[in-house]
């Protein structure tokens, strides 16, 4: 497979997953905004901007972080490279470039989303409830993933597409947890309060894991349980360990098909090994924020190694 094609596929996966993450963040924000504020004003929206990793561009264009502006910025704004519109357009453009590497159904899913997006942009904002936007985005990415799962040939292209999904997901879950732990609730006094509980619930809802959590753990929601669920529980599809295991699976598949391993496989195995040995207490000991920062850094390095080994065209 052409390195450029593999690169396009990898980024399609990342962009679609990122669009979904943005929608989930908006959904979290929408729910948190329904809670009585504790900071004098609703700075939860501010923290969402932080979590999205795109906070820098916001004040210049919009000033105050009020809901409507944040919606514009995270959903519609083309100046924000991570907005839902930007991500889906980038995914569709990448898909158009590698049209031949995708099945008709997969192309339909992403191209259909792109066409519907144009309709949404023409719809008056007053008619667009936040929930409609976020539900729409999640439905589109579900359609897209479903089409991939049902129709794509299980070749190396499939692996690169999925590597994009898994790396982005690992990164996103880590960021979501970080926003909860580091930004939303900066003061230790709040830990264990009703507010703390509500925020954890909201976070679980954002990753569509609210009920799954109860099935898996039951009883009270505690920080330790949620941390275990989102970091160390392989049965949670968005946990860090599940995402890294997914990446490892697809990298192994590529290595077997090509008959050679690279530094990317070395790193993903090391990451998986660490997570497999890890206990929740270790995370709290290191500090949640510190742990997550380190993890996000490792995902970045893994992405760079995949690029060097397969996507750059420098492979020999």
């Amino acid at each position: 497979m052409l390195s450029r094609t593999a690169d396009n596929l990898f980024w399609i996966g990342r962009y679609v997953e990122r669009a979904e993450m943005m929608a989930r963040l908006l959904a979290v924000g929408g729910r948190i905004a329904l809670l009585p504020g504790v900071h004098g004003y609703r700075n939860e929206w501010e923290s969402l901007l932080q979590a999205s990793g795109t906070a820098a561009g916001f004040p210049r264009k919009y000033g105050e972080p009020v809901q409507r502006n944040i919606e514009s910025y995270l959903f519609f704004d083309r100046d924000n490279p991570s907005s839902v519109v930007s991500c889906l357009e980038a995914a569709r453009e990448n898909a158009r470039i590698v049209r031949t590497a995708l099945t008709t159904q997969v192309w339909d899913a992403i191209n259909g989303a792109f066409q519907e997006l144009r309709q949404l942009e023409r719809t008056p904002r007053s008619e667009l409830e936040l929930a409609r936007l976020t539900d729409w985005t999640m439905r589109q990415s579900a359609l897209f993933r479903g089409a991939i799962d049902a129709t794509q040939l299980r070749n190396d292209g499939y692996d690169f597409l999925n590597l994009g999904f898994h790396l982005e997901r690992a990164d996103n879950t880590a960021r979501l947890m970080d926003v909860k732990y580091f930004v939303l609730l900066p003061k230790a006094d709040y830990v264990g309060t009703g507010l703390d509980l509500y925020q954890w619930q909201t976070l679980l809802r954002a990753i569509s894991a609210h009920r799954a959590f109860h099935w898996a753990y039951g009883g009270e929601i505690t920080a330790a349980k949620v941390a275990h669920f989102l970091i160390l529980n392989r049965s949670c599809p968005r946990s860090l360990i599940a995402s890294v295991a997914g990446a490892a699976h697809h990298l192994d598949h590529v290595a077997r098909a090509y008959g050679a391993t690279t530094r990317a496989q070395d790193l993903v195995r090391a990451m998986l090994g660490e997570l497999a040995e890890l206990r929740v207490e270790d995370v709290f000991e290191e500090g949640m924020h510190e742990f997550l920062t380190r993890f996000i850094g490792a995902v970045g390095i893994l992405s760079a190694r995949i690029h060097d080994a397969y996507l750059s065209g420098e492979a020999r």
């Binding site: 052409l2 470039i97 049209r99 020999r316």
Partner: protein
């Protein structure tokens, strides 16, 4: 007797079809009588269109609109769009698709096929000759200056004979019809004629929307084209290539207006679609960068112009090409299709001499006629052209896409005066032809069905064998009375049928 009806459910009757023709006749005066209508001969329906007459008569207006919308949605979903150069705007514009097919009988096609293959053979013989001994020039059958001082003449490949002596592997020959048995060649496209994806997709969409007319009419399939193209390209692999040749399509990239076509063809042929930076030269061969390391490439079907192929040989600022490609090519490491330099055979001044080429190389008489052409480079012909601008079509020798041309009968006095000025300044850049009475084919328009002018581009494949799939791209000028069919000028496309015997 007329029944009153809900206007939304009005059915077009054959009377209406004829009315549409009649109205047109009044509108553009007596000249319309000169136009050959491919469906109607006087009031009678010509045999090849007999199967369509009932189809269109029985199609209710609202079904037609629904189908038209369905076709558009299909095109959009598949991703066939067309960007018009220099226009900005929506890069996802669709080429208008007209659902009324254009039909040829088996007999008509047989003659066209022989004529097209003859022409493709002669054009390739000419190219091998002018990059070799230049017999045709020595024999005085074509002026030396026209060949050797031609902008498209590539000195970089002089003396080189590509595999199997083929320069132009895909020859697109633009034809117009002016009467029952009258066909003229408008121009030859020896470089990289585009539009074949429309030929294939138009058929797919018609078959999907109207399966019944395909059951009732026996229509030759065109779907074999991509496989034929792949075989043609594989058959011209360089001698150094051992085993199954690796064929790729080289595209300028996804911003190119024809990108859809490049990607569609690559998909249908099962070959890689590459951009310049995906390739590199090493050890006299061309390689593509893959996730498993370099893979050798044997045949490049390029969809970029000569000038951009190799920055070391042609334009040094080209980012689209592959440095060193021409060295690999000339040393037999890779085949480039069409071969660099093929353009010298298809410029509009050389075009005049194609009948000569057919006689010179093949010893045959041309089966397809050329349109009489005045070469503005010749002073006496220029004088004639200037005197008769209002009746002529004037084209740039190197132009394409319907740009920079003057259609005399449809131009204003001021436009003609301005064009005359341009002509006097650089006469060698222009040729002139009489305004042809392009045939018309019934076409769906706002008010029902009306005749619109059409042309035809079949795609002839030249490799080990010369092949032509029974069909081509019919372009239609959707504006009433317009003779310009180019998609860049608002033309549309139709499915083209060749009936089986």
């Amino acid at each position: 007797m007329r029944h009153s009806r809900n206007p939304a459910f009005r059915t077009p009757t054959p009377r209406r079809i004829l009315d549409a023709g009649g109205r047109n006749r009044r509108d553009i005066g007596a000249r319309v009588q000169d136009y050959f209508n491919e469906m109607f001969d006087g009031g009678a329906v010509r045999a090849p269109y007999a199967g369509l007459e009932t189809w269109v008569r029985e199609m209710p207006a609202e079904l037609r609109q629904m189908k038209q919308a369905e076709a558009e949605a299909l095109f959009r979903r598949i991703g066939i769009t067309f960007a018009v150069y220099g226009e900005g705007g929506d890069p996802d514009r669709l080429i208008p698709f007209d659902m009324f097919p254009r039909v040829f009988t088996a007999g008509e096609w047989r003659r066209l096929e022989r004529g097209i293959k003859q022409r493709a053979r002669a054009l390739n013989a000419f190219l091998v000759d002018v990059y070799g001994r230049g017999e045709i020039v020595r024999a005085g059958r074509i002026p030396a200056a026209l060949v050797y001082q031609n902008e498209a003449y590539e000195t970089a490949v002089a003396g080189f004979v590509p595999p199997r002596g083929v320069y132009s592997h895909i020859v697109g020959i633009d034809l117009v019809r002016t009467g029952r048995d009258e066909f003229f060649v408008l121009e030859d496209n020896c470089r990289t004629p585009s539009g074949v994806s429309y030929m294939l997709e138009n058929r797919e969409i018609m078959m999907r929307m109207f399966p019944e007319i395909f059951r009732e009419n026996r229509i030759e399939p065109v779907e074999g084209y991509p496989e034929l193209l792949r075989r043609t390209l594989a058959s011209v692999a360089p001698e150094k290539c051992q085993g199954e040749p690796t064929v790729v399509i080289l595209t300028p990239g996804h911003y190119n207006s024809a990108y859809y076509e490049h990607s569609f063809l690559a998909d249908m042929m099962g070959v890689e679609l590459v951009e310049g930076p995906d390739l590199f030269c090493e050890g006299g061969f061309v390689w593509m960068r893959t996730t498993r390391g370099p893979q050798k490439v044997d045949v490049i079907y390029r969809r970029i112009d000569d000038a951009f192929l190799d920055p070391l040989c042609f334009r040094p600022d080209s980012m689209l090409g592959v440095p060193g490609l021409m060295d690999c090519y000339r040393s037999g490491g890779v085949t480039i299709a069409s071969a660099p330099g093929a353009g010298v055979a298809d410029d509009k001044a050389v075009y005049t001499y194609v009948p000569e080429m057919i006689r010179f190389y093949l010893g045959e008489e041309p089966i397809l006629q050329n349109v009489p052409t005045w070469q503005c480079a010749k002073p006496d012909e220029l004088a004639h052209v200037l005197d008769n601008l209002a009746d002529l079509v004037v084209k740039e020798v190197h132009g394409s896409g319907g740009y920079g041309m003057l259609v005399g009968p449809r131009a204003t006095k001021d436009q003609i005066a301005a064009f005359a000025e341009k002509l006097r300044e650089a006469p060698e850049h222009y040729i002139a032809q009489p305004t042809l009475s392009l045939s018309t084919c019934p076409t769906f328009v706002e008010e029902g069905i009306a005749p619109r002018h059409v042309d035809l581009r079949p795609y002839c494949l030249v490799g080990e064998r010369i092949e032509l799939v029974p069909g081509g791209l019919t372009r239609v000028a959707l504006t009433e009375g317009s003779l310009v069919v180019n998609s860049s000028q608002g033309g549309g496309v139709k499915d083209t049928w060749v009936l089986a015997e």
